[in-house]
Amino acid sequence: MKLDVNALGTFYRMAREGAGLAAGRLTHMTEVETQVGVTKLNFMRGREIRRDFEDATEKVAVRVKLTGAIEGYSMVVFERENALRVVETLLADSDSETDIDVDAGEFDEMTQSAVTEVGHIMNSGFIDGWADVLETVIDVSTPEFVEGVTAEPFFGEVDETPDEDDLALLFQSSIETVGTEIGFSHYLFPKRESMAALLDRLRTSGGIEYDKLDGFDRMAERGAEEVAKTATTLTGIDTSVEIRRLNFVSLEAIPEQVADETLVGVAFEFDGMPSGYLLFLFDEESAHEIVDAMVPMEVDEDGFGEMGTSAIKELGNIMASGFLDGWANVLDTTIDHSTPEFIHDMGAAAVDPVIIQLGENQEFAFVFDTVVMADGREFDCEVYAIPDENDLERALNNLDVDRIEETPTTAEFQELENS
C-alpha cells in the first residue's frame, strides 16, 4: 500500500466537501446557521487511535459502517460535554419539547437520540461529500451510539478493528454556531484492502510505501526532543515539548493556523534531503522572557533591540541545528540550514512567504508542528517545519524501515487543543 500527495490531496478535498454538506444539513435540520470546519487531516495507526481513546475523558460517538467504494467505519466523536453542548445549542430552540439538561449524569433516551441524530447527519454529510469527490457510491449503515472512557466500547464490537499498524484518518473538525465553536474528531478507519484499492486509484506518482510512515513519527519526535533540550540548556528555563501529529494541509491553511497577533520569530531555509523551511514563532511575552533569561544584564531596549534580536536569533539557530540534526539522524543524511532571519510582525505575514515559495510546485504540505512549553514561565514556541514534498517523499523512500525500529523513542505524543 502506497501513499502519494495526490491521494492525500484527494482526502483533503473529501474532508472539505464533506464538511460543507454536513453543515448544510445541520443548518437545514435545526434552522440554526451552522458551519463545519475541518482544521487538520492526520494520518494515524490503529495503536495511536487507541491511545487517543485511552485518555480517561468521557466520549460519545456515532458510528456507521461503510460499504461500497470505501469499506470500513466512519465515527464522529465528541467529548461527552461537547456532545451535550452541540445538542443543546442546535436543538434546544428548534424543539421546545426536547428538554435537555446538560448537568444530567446519564444520557437520557431523548438526549441519546438527539446526539445520534446530529452525529448521523454529520457522518452521512461527510460520506456523501467523499462520494461526490470520488464520483462513486458509498453506502452507510444505520448509526450506532457509543459512549465510554476507554477504547473498548468504540472498537470492541467492530468486526474490522483497526489493527496496530492499520492506517486510519483523523479529521480534526469543529462546528461553529451561534457564536460558539465546538470541536470534534471524525475518524475513518477503512478496511486495509479497501484503502489499498482506493489509494491505487488515486495515486499519480510512485508514492511513499505506507510502512515508512513510521519515519515521520521518528522525525517529529527526534526534532522536538532536540529543540527542547537546546532551549533548556540555553535559557535555563525547563521546557517540555508536545508534538502535534504530522499534518497534511493545503498550503493556504498554514498561515491561517498561526495566531492572529504580532509574533516574534526566527526563520530558516534548510537544504539537503529534504530541503524546506523551518520557523520558530514566539508570542511577544515569551520572547521577552527568553531575552531576559539569555541576556545577563539589564537591557534597556524598546521592543526588541540589537541585544534582544541577537539573543532570539542565537536561540533559534541552535534550536534549528538540533531539530534538523534530529531529522538527519533518523534519515541517515545531513541537512544544512541558512543563517537565521529575525521577524517581529504579524504571525501570518511571517509564514506566507514560505508557502508562496513552496506553492510554485506543490499544493499541499506536510507540516511537522510542535509546541515547546515551560512550566510556570512564559515560553511558548510554535515550531513549523515544512519540507519540500518531493524531497520528503524521496527521503522517506530511502529510509531503511528496519533501522527505524532500532531507534527507540522517548518523546510522548500528545494531542493539543487546537486553539
Partner: protein, 173 residues
C-alpha cells in the same frame, strides 16, 4: 481557522483568505489579514459601487493547471475573475479602478531569488495594464506585514501594519 459553510450571511467584515476572492458592493467591508508576500488586489467601480478583493499568493495562473479551480490563487487569473464577476453584477468594465497592497519580502533566502513578494507585484501590474484597468494607488514592498480592509462603495483600502502607532502604521489608499 477556515470554515466551510453552506449558506451566505457571514458577519462583516468578510474575511478574504489566501487564494480567495470576494465581490461585494456598498458599505460591506472585505478584509485580508496578515499579508506578507501575498498581495491584496482591490478592484471597484465608483459608478455602481461594486467592488472586490482578492488575496493572491502566486503570480502566474496561466502557467498553472489548477487556476480554473482556484482563480483567486494567482494574480493574473484573480484580476480577470474579479472583473468578470463585477461586470456580471452590474459593474461597468470601463470605469473600474484598482488598488494593490502587500508583496513584502520578509526574508532574504537564497531559494527565494528576486523575492516572492516582488514577483506578485510585477504580475499584478502587468495584468492590470493588459486589461486597461488603471492602478490608482499602491502600498507594496518593504519587509513588513499588512492587514487590509476594503470598502467597495468608497473604494477605500485601509492598510495597517503590526505596529499601528508607527509612522506607516495606518494608511488609507
Amino acid at each position: 481557522m477556515k470554515t466551510y459553510g453552506s449558506e451566505p450571511g457571514a458577519p462583516t467584515p468578510v474575511q478574504v483568505g489566501i487564494s480567495e476572492l470576494v465581490v461585494s458592493e456598498g458599505d460591506d467591508t472585505l478584509k485580508s489579514y496578515g499579508l506578507g508576500s501575498c498581495l491584496a488586489i482591490a478592484l471597484y467601480d465608483p459608478e455602481s459601487d461594486i467592488g472586490g478583493l482578492a488575496h493572491v499568493m502566486l503570480p502566474d495562473g496561466d502557467a498553472a493547471d489548477n487556476s480554473d479551480r482556484k482563480p483567486g490563487k494567482y494574480a493574473d487569473t484573480a484580476i480577470r475573475a474579479l472583473l468578470r464577476r463585477m461586470v456580471e453584477q452590474g459593474a461597468s468594465y470601463t470605469t473600474v479602478e484598482s488598488k494593490i497592497a502587500g508583496g513584502s519580502d520578509m526574508f532574504e533566502f537564497e531559494s527565494f531569488g528576486d523575492g516572492v513578494g516582488q514577483r506578485n507585484i510585477v504580475a499584478a501590474k502587468a495584468e492590470l495594464e493588459k486589461l486597461g484597468v488603471p492602478l490608482v494607488a499602491e502600498d507594496v514592498g518593504g519587509e513588513y506585514g499588512r492587514t487590509v480592509e476594503f470598502t467597495p462603495g468608497t473604494g477605500s483600502l485601509v492598510v495597517k501594519t503590526a505596529d499601528e502607532r508607527a509612522e506607516n502604521g495606518v494608511t488609507e489608499l
